[in-house]
Subunit: 370 residues, 4 copies
């Protein structure tokens, strides 16, 4: 395969509503218009991609039994988390480098998310600056995801900037102190075609023409409970620890001051041969015992998946790749189309399952499929 030519990376630029029959096929459609290296970076997983596949398949290990005499009509999918009322129990997951998908970069995603009516997560590896993203958000709620610097003074500066931008929570990604074994990126010799303004403080160079390995190597590789405490104390904001797969880590994070647990296996991009993220959710929820909210990601593609995650202990889920494919296919309108799809599909499932509210979903017992 050829090296991705970073100089002339031509991301799509069209802005339009898109038809979403299902989100799985969005990947194929996006693959036809997003440059090769960028598409593989977005869609790929680590190793054999066993865990990537399991993330989706594992939802079928449990089934929703319809409750057909529940007297439900017009189910209400709205909920709230950490004081934010949101239109539906899903938010935007933090993802690096949206510019790979669309020329509007994170600003496009942000606008789609805001217009839909839920929370935007801004990645520290954003290719857009806070002020550019604000053009899309237009005051709508946002959380900030941090990859920490080795230097806490830089971390303070980044947190300060995020707070100034209006972030109401910090998401500490703890599962990626170095990159998973993403073979597609290795084969493509993938490097980012543009810089990362938010973390350029601690990068030698701006991030442009750097591989993920290079970038991770310059960020903090040694995350500990003290980092959770530090971020919490310094920012005064609620801290989510993202990348939790072991129940023990959830407990450690809470004891260190985390205000939320973010169950994720990084979309199957870190440790391969691990269980589907959904397989770990229930035991983590049992360990958390409702002390803090749980966000879940990795594998959400359908309304059924959202329902099952909520019935297994999540308070909200985060949408990753499908939103990015929507961005590629239709800019901010494409993102909104994807979020609208999820809400419509979730409501259908709620109705068929006999659940009026998000709380009803959480009280549902799933069936263990054979």
């Amino acid at each position: 395969m050829q090296q991705t030519k970073t100089m002339d990376y031509n991301a799509p630029s069209e802005v339009k509503e898109i038809e979403v029959v299902n989100t799985l096929e969005l990947e194929e459609r996006a693959g036809q218009i997003v440059p090769h290296g960028g598409f593989h970076y977005m869609s790929g997983g680590s190793g054999d991609e066993f865990t990537l596949r399991k993330n989706i398949e594992s939802f079928n290990y449990k089934g929703i039994l319809p409750r057909v005499l529940a007297d439900v009509e017009h189910p209400d999918s709205s909920t709230s988390i950490l004081g934010h009322d949101i239109r539906a129990p899903f938010i935007m997951a933090p993802i690096a480098a949206h510019g790979l998908a669309h020329q509007s970069k994170e600003a496009g995603t942000a606008r789609g998310v805001a217009e839909f009516g839920t929370i935007m997560s801004i990645s520290a590896y954003s290719g857009a600056k806070f002020e550019e993203i604000e053009e899309g958000l237009n005051g709508s709620p946002r959380w900030f995801q941090i990859y920490m610097s080795k230097d806490d003074e830089i971390n303070k500066a980044i947190v300060d900037e995020a707070k100034a931008d209006g972030a109401t929570a910090i998401i500490l990604t703890a599962d990626s102190t170095l990159s998973g074994n993403r073979e597609k990126d290795i084969r493509n010799k993938f490097v980012y075609p543009f810089g990362m303004p938010i973390v350029s403080r601690y990068l030698t160079g701006t991030g442009e023409k750097m591989s993920l390995n290079n970038i991770y190597a310059q960020s903090k590789q040694k995350i500990s409970p003290q980092d959770v405490t530090f971020l919490s104390d310094y920012s005064g904001l609620p801290i989510f620890v993202k990348g939790i797969q072991a129940p023990e880590d959830a407990i450690i994070a809470i004891e260190a001051g985390a205000s939320g647990i973010w169950v994720s296996n990084h979309g199957g991009r870190q440790l391969d041969g691990a269980p589907g993220s959904f397989e770990t959710l229930e035991v983590i929820a049992e360990a958390v015992q409702g002390r803090v909210p749980i966000v879940f990601d990795s594998g959400i593609r359908r309304g059924e998946h959202i329902f099952k995650a909520l019935a297994s202990g999540a308070d909200v889920v985060a949408i990753g790749r499908p939103a990015l494919y929507g961005l590629a296919l239709g800019g901010w309108k494409g993102v909104k189309s994807v979020f609208d799809y999820f809400d419509k599909d979730l409501k259908r499932v709620m109705q068929l399952a006999g659940t009026q509210t998000v709380e009803d979903i959480k009280n549902t017992t799933l069936f263990k499929n054979n």
Copy 2:
């Protein structure tokens, strides 16, 4: 894909006996002669069609161990349900819009079912009127399946009409207050090419050129135990609640006055990612404890399947798609061919399993396959 042209929907019209080596291949054969949109509507399921596939596969989770010294010959497959003596422990399932399969519509199916000697279920979404269906039934027993109107006066009128037609039971479909996520129909922009006379009372328009979503939206979306009681009280007929997958719903239905439980996941057309219908049967039967009869559908394609359903708690099973494919391929004679096939195949299984009667089947313990 092109939009189905509703104006010139050309359903098959041939009437002839058909060879049934197995019912699975009938689908393929029907697909060659039934117009594209209609065929996909009939054959498709929701979402990934995981549950559609599981409906058939799950029968292999249990095995029939032959009893070879049982002194059985000429097994008797006849049985009775709610006072009707029927030739075999299977009946016709309620299915909408048989006209998609054959120009004789429900009248064709009805005649095939009646000539075979079992019960016809008439769907509220029939494309034929009661009197047209009676031409096929010619006095043979029938049950009426209702999708309720939001307006109980209309429901009363529909029930009155069904009773006047001679229905001896009402099947309340409770699992479909809106349509499952049937992607094939969405892609095909499928609309019904003809009207639905029975429910035209509550449809704006007649049902013609309407999608299933439109039609469901005009029917009652809020089904509760009170609806069971209402139908039971008003009609004086036994009420089956159809679409039961959760044991709790079976209990609620019985307490609300249901005279029968109809275990079904709507042929994998509603909630996807759910277990095969057969997987839920045993626990539902345990909850019902024999208080009322159980009808089972979703996935029956072979005599072994009928046997396994009966051995797992069903009193009779209902045949859906295979009968419709028989209708497409041979009109009423095709339907009868399919029912004859099932009876012959069931009797073969009864003989090999060492069971003389339907009661013997029910007393059989299945083997849990690896």
Copy 3:
């Protein structure tokens, strides 16, 4: 597909040793030279052929752990059953109509089996007469498999003839009072191209140009424990009841006078959707508790399979299709090649597993594979 032309059925006739790298590929090789209808009759199973596949696959549910310090060399695979010393713990299974595979018919198989040094099972549906088979056996031990007539006087005559021929045991096939749902035969409109002299006493016609359904319909369809007792009392020979899959049937058979249990699902040709025969062996052996010997068939293709069956409760196994393919490919020499292969392969497994004798195999505990 065309109807098999019975008049000019040209079975192979070559006699030669064959190379057996594995017995699975013999099926493919035989399929190239055996006429279409005959090959499908031999190789096919019932229904979806789920059970046919499971018969082989299920051996992989348990694994042999090598015992590497067992001080074993030159393992001895010889054993004895019902007083016959045999060269290896496997015998020829009773199979109908060997003439489909080779012009030497059962006489060819018999010679290959006798030259190898184990027991021949002669099927009541043999296409050769006893005296023809004797030409191959040349005094070597044989058991006779019976499909009973509805008329016990005829049964007596058949038993008399088998005894006169030197049969030392009777195998009562109890699982086939009618034919399984063999779709390939139905499609091929398969009929036997030659007669069945042994059972011609009770057949209208000789069996020639009859389907298996016709023939079974004329045999006894009502097998009971009394039949076991009758055969035992009248013949004075040990009786195996063949087709046992349920532990209860094993107990009933023994109580009725059976001297042996033959665990089999008729090579996946009767009830489909049933477990692999190997899956049922262990529980049957537990029910038998060593009171009588157990013969196992259905799925044996490798030395590992023989070992696993013996370690799960069988005393000997019976070889079916592989021997018939050997017959097709090389006449009696081909049959012997197949039996030689099994012995060589079994001894290799015995050596690697650290077992010196057949008794050692029986005392081996298998590992439950994941």
Copy 4:
């Protein structure tokens, strides 16, 4: 297929670093340059190759849950075994006839292993002499793997020679007193294209133009605990018993004087239908109870696999086929590339799993995947 022409077996000869994106594809790449018969000998397994496949697949039965707040950076993969400090917890497995892969034979492998910094295992079936291998090893540590002669005087002479060469441990391969059923070799009529100088003492001929069956037949086929004791007493070196799959054998070996247990199923080349070697590791480790070190092989292809084996009871793992493919593709530099890859990949996994040292890996509890 044609017989491998032994006279003109042209093994690759290039020496170069190779790119290792993953080791699975090395097999395909090696298959393009290694002569047919030699490649099949190296890559093939026995029987259906079920166990060969399971060796790799079974690692996915358990998952590593990342520990993300473990305060880990720059993990240290070094360890020691039997007094040798090694760079990483993996060594070279004993493999016969490296000359099939590369003209530098075992000397090439030895140099790659030594340059990497771990232990070389020299096979008794080496195609190179000790002194040739020493050219590659250059004083680096080595263990000697023995296939015993039937004559203990010869065994003494071989052990003497190995000790003189500097071997610090003896690996007694106990699982291969004859060859597994390797169908590819049978079809290829594979014979070694060159001799085996170390065991030529007990071979009629030198090993050249002999099949593995011939060679095994001349070695000792009767391995017992006494052989372990003999080797231990005579050599004064620690003895590993290799090929342990049953916990009982581990106990017997230790009681007979083994200083180490080598869990292996010979790369799926002996008993087929057996579990993946990884499936047996945990129960063996429980039986060993830490009394002696455990080496594990069969199926290691990724850093995750090494991690999982260590977390399941192994002290070090041994690399087989991937190293040989590396040898084929790049001579000693190719071997070193493969070992470097494993170390880099393992360290990545250690970091992501939150484990600083090999001891931390051993203390990790894995997640049972669904």
